[in-house]
């Protein structure tokens, strides 16, 4: 029940229903117009806030149950809960850290590299919009929406070291990583005054609509480093380690697809035409990624697999994230196609040659997808879709190669390299520090027993009882 709302609305409805007689008095026109303005503003906010609250929920759903299922279906039965917990614990821990200071360090104005503490403990984050970021929705909604991105990013990395890392080491690592990698990169790309944010005073214009750089490049390259530093699972690669339930992974992948509408279309921060455009580009990229991965498999093995189809969709989604609100839907499909092929090649050919154990392909899908998506945004971004960047004369600036701005590819590359640098170094530092605090890997016996029993004292399934 919403008493406040009720009261508030009583005002509006007086305004809106009771009006006629009252309106006859000419002198009231100005007052009426003022009242209407306020009412329109409220009503714009309702529409946009409705969409953004749903988008926030969708993005949370990507982590739990989405990613938790996607990942936990790919591990062996004995690790199903342990893998789910790596996603779930981020929903708990990152949430609290975000409220305490991480939000402020990303979106507080600060300097070109990092924000400040103005919003610590949600100080000043209330119902009124933050005009810099999202002028039509409550600041609280913006904060919540951004939080969901911070939750999923470290959760993604965990795919690289699945089935072998101790639970509290994973938590410690993720917390360090959040502050050492996510916070600065997100601030640089999205924060006011961030070095790479062309829309709010940044130096180098990097276009990252929904987190290709901030989420996928950082987590993907960090995953690679972590996989190498932590080492292979015992028995890898000669032992049979197959997904214990592609059914779970399938459900998870569908939820990721659906949630990604919140991720990408929600990044319009309003229920606008731009949101619709990003929605469609996202959907096309997912579809195209699934198709191209399936085609690649069919060429190579004669069979398209379910794991391939969902991997392709996720690759398409990860890759289009950067450009979703800058490219046309048709470009989205092209990006998805490329993503399916490239990520397939990375995961199936290159990885197996190099021999590191990125168990669930966090690097091969998110790192590689994020990287090529970053460059492809430089190619396909167009002012026909997004005219927010203005030239001195007030006209929309050309964005990517298709607008004739070939240099943007270079800018995107710089953005990617900075994110990679943060990811690589930050992961190295975070893992080293974690190792000083607590052993990172499970011991051999625990690994054999499985995370569920060894770390959490439970079993995922008790079908026998």
């Amino acid at each position: 029940m919403s008493p406040t709302k009720r009261a508030y609305l009583r005002v509006c409805s007086m305004l809106l229903c009771a009006a006629p007689a009252f309106a006859l008095q000419a002198g009231n026109t100005d007052a009426e117009i003022s009242a209407l303005k306020a009412a329109v503003k409220a009503s714009q906010s309702a529409g946009d806030n409705a969409w953004m609250l749903v988008s926030s929920a969708f993005v949370l759903m990507m982590t739990g149950p989405g990613l938790a299922l996607f990942y936990s279906g790919l591990v062996r039965r004995k690790n199903v809960l342990g893998t789910m917990m790596q996603s779930f614990v981020m929903m708990a821990v990152v949430t609290l850290l975000w409220g305490i200071c991480a939000y402020s360090l990303v979106f507080g104005e600060g300097n070109a590299l990092i924000g400040d503490f103005r919003y610590a403990f949600l100080n000043g984050v209330g119902g009124a919009p933050n005009l810099d970021y999202a002028p039509t929705i409550p600041h609280l909604t913006f904060m919540a929406y951004q939080m969901m991105f911070a939750i999923i990013t470290p959760a993604l990395i965990a795919g690289a070291f699945a089935e072998r890392v101790r639970f509290h080491a994973m938590v410690v690592f993720s917390v360090l990583w959040l502050f050492l990698v996510y916070v600065p990169v997100a601030h640089m790309v999205w924060g006011k005054g961030g070095y790479l944010n062309p829309f709010l005073g940044g130096k180098i214009p990097v276009f990252d609509f929904a987190g290709g750089t901030v989420v996928h490049i950082t987590s993907g390259f960090s995953a690679l480093v972590a996989a190498i530093m932590i080492g292979k699972r015992h028995g890898f690669p000669h032992e049979r380690m197959v997904p214990h339930s592609l059914v779970l992974s399938f459900i998870g992948a569908c939820m990721l697809w659906m949630g990604w509408f919140g991720f990408n279309a929600g990044s319009a921060l309003a229920a606008s035409a731009l949101a619709s455009s990003a929605f469609v580009a996202t959907h096309f990229a997912a579809a195209a990624g699934a198709v191209s991965w399936m085609v690649a498999e069919r060429i190579k093995n004669g069979k398209a697999s379910a794991l391939g189809a969902i991997s392709g969709a996720v690759a398409g989604l990860a890759t289009v994230t950067q450009g979703a609100g800058f490219v046309t839907p048709v470009s989205g499909a092209i990006i998805g196609f490329i993503a399916g092929f490239v990520c397939y090649y990375m995961v199936v050919v290159v990885k197996n040659k190099l021999g590191y154990d990125d168990s669930l392909d966090a690097f091969g899908v998110h790192g590689v997808g994020g990287f090529i998506g970053c460059l492809l945004t430089g190619v396909f971004a167009t002012r026909a879709v997004n005219d927010a960047l203005k030239l001195a004369n007030g006209q929309a600036a050309p964005l990517g190669l298709v607008d004739g701005n070939a240099g943007q590819i270079g800018n995107q590359l710089i953005g990617a390299l900075i994110a990679i640098a943060f990811g690589v170094i930050g992961t190295w530092v975070s893992l080293k520090i974690t190792g000083l605090i607590t052993p990172v890997r499970m011991d051999k016996q625990q690994e054999a027993e499985g995370m569920d029993v060894a770390l959490h004292g439970e079993e995922g399934y008790a079908f026998e009882d």
Binding site: P237, R240, M241, V242, P243, N301, K303, S305, L307, G308, S311, V347, V348, V349, K351, N352, D361
Partner: protein, 112 residues
């Protein structure tokens, strides 16, 4: 008494059980097993990692029967389980020392 152990194709289980019932053999214990023999398996590929699966699902039936019915039971199974293809399975016969019905402590053939 003998234990007749038959390892058969899982999809033949219903046929075999019906044939046994028709022959008056009621008591049977069934285990899902995986077996390897001459039948070839299949390939599975997960993101480029290839596994040859050469253990195939089979059903193992165990029946303890009195000596007098041994051959009949074997024939019944043979007839019902045979397709003529590789993978049809095997029957093994073992000696049973004793049989006891838990419910009422019946022993020997009357326990079957």
């Amino acid at each position: 008494m003998f234990k007749i152990e038959a390892i058969i194709q899982p999809f033949k289980l219903d046929d075999v059980r019906e044939a046994l019932k028709a022959a008056g053999i009621d008591g049977v214990t069934i285990t899902e097993v995986r077996g390897h023999g001459r039948q070839k398996g299949h390939k599975e590929i997960y993101r480029g990692r290839e596994y040859h699966v050469d253990l195939l699902p089979k059903a193992k039936l165990e029946m303890v029967v009195p000596e007098s019915r041994k051959d009949e039971v074997i024939d019944t199974i043979m007839n019902a389980a045979r397709t003529g293809n590789i993978g049809d399975g095997k029957i093994f016969v073992y000696n049973v020392g004793e049989a006891i019905r838990i419910r009422n402590n019946d022993r020997g053939e009357s326990a079957l």
